[in-house]
């Protein structure tokens, strides 16, 4: 991306997202913590455009004036006040509601706890953390089809390590969201960090996932 110049031709595809509004929802509750408001601004604009029922709960979030012009916004002064707000909101939400949280892990956990206390099922609770997951330690990976053994350094992704030795691997988002880089996991136990349930298919997301501590992975590459 950084090597591109004005006028360069690029191949583009339509965007993908793991944090989209659920089309069948009767009501959307958007919970924004700090700059976590970013994707929820798009949600709010979308709901306002289509006339969907929605409300925003915000704590420490910027762009409140933009949100207020789109629909109802309730602002909590701090995290504890937010916890007090959440209970009544999810407890009285109409049938077919969904809640979407973007913010630090603590806020996401607080929303999940409030939803659980109101007997919501997990499929109605959505979140996008904006804190990067901590990097893991070094490990080794065996590329079965290429007959290579590659050492992945701490702070290096599996995908970067595969690139470094010149083995071609698919990729797109580099955030464990799009599923493009999913590769068969043949051996070893992985520390799965993707958002597309690669583990359920016996695969691994090269861009974000690593080996579990002390494990060596074998992948179908």
């Amino acid at each position: 991306m950084h090597d591109l110049r004005p006028g360069d031709r690029v191949r583009a595809r339509s965007p993908r997202s793991s944090f989209t509004p659920v089309e069948t929802a009767a009501h959307h509750i958007l919970v924004a913590g700090g700059v976590g408001v970013t994707p929820l601004l798009s949600h709010a604009r979308w709901h306002a455009f289509w006339g969907h029922s929605f409300e925003v709960l915000a704590v420490g979030a910027p762009h409140l004036d933009v949100l207020r012009a789109l629909g109802p916004v309730t602002v909590a002064r701090d995290r504890r006040k937010m916890a007090d707000l959440l209970g009544p909101v999810v407890g009285t939400a109409p049938w077919k509601s969904h809640v979407y949280t973007c913010g630090p892990p603590g806020l996401i956990a607080a929303v999940a706890a409030a939803a659980r206390a109101a007997h919501w099922v997990g499929a109605r609770v959505h979140a996008e953390p904006f804190v990067a997951e901590p990097a893991g330690g070094p490990f080794e990976v065996v590329l079965r089809r290429s007959r290579r053994r590659v050492r992945v350094a701490a702070g290096e992704t599996l995908l970067d390590a595969v690139d470094r030795v010149g083995v071609a691997a698919p990729r797109l988002c580099r955030q464990g969201v799009c599923g493009e880089c999913l590769t068969g996991l043949v051996g070893g136990t992985a520390d799965h960090r993707d958002h597309v349930d690669a583990a359920e298919e016996g695969r691994i997301a090269l861009c974000v996932s690593r080996a579990a501590p002390g494990e060596t992975l074998e992948i179908d590459l």
Binding site: W95, K96, A118, H119, W120, A123, R124
Partner: protein, 123 residues
């Protein structure tokens, strides 16, 4: 409503599949709040159709439990979904002629949650 001492159970709406019209389930569900569960009880065919209607009105699999009161599963009246013309119709047994298009169908074991019906495969 069922209670279990010491357990905070989700509120649950019990629906008698033989008595509730699937077309009426939308307004019924709209009166609930999120967090409610549905428990659908009755004969196999009516339970499947009511369950399909609840799903169409936004209920999730995780929110629905069912209890079939038919004595032997698969022996009563089943809704068959014709693979040729997509016409759903009630029948018994494992073979039927579709009243929509006249195709002779074998009734497969495959049941659709969305249609609440068994697949009718042209012979």
């Amino acid at each position: 409503m069922r209670t279990v001492p010491g357990v905070d159970l989700a509120p649950c709406l019990e629906l008698d599949a033989a008595a509730v019209d699937p077309d009426d389930v939308g307004p019924t569900l709209a009166r609930l709040t999120t967090g409610w569960r549905l428990r659908i009880v009755g004969p196999e065919r009516e339970v499947l159709l009511l369950r399909a209607a609840a799903l169409a009105h936004g209920a999730l699999d995780e929110e629905i439990t069912t209890e079939i009161t038919t004595e032997v599963l698969g022996t009563g009246v089943r809704t068959v979904y014709c693979a040729a013309c997509h016409h759903p119709f009630p029948t018994t047994g494992t073979a039927a002629r579709c009243p929509g298009c006249g195709t002779d169908l074998d009734v497969a074991d495959h049941v659709s949650r969305r249609h609440g019906a068994f697949l009718g495969v042209p012979r």
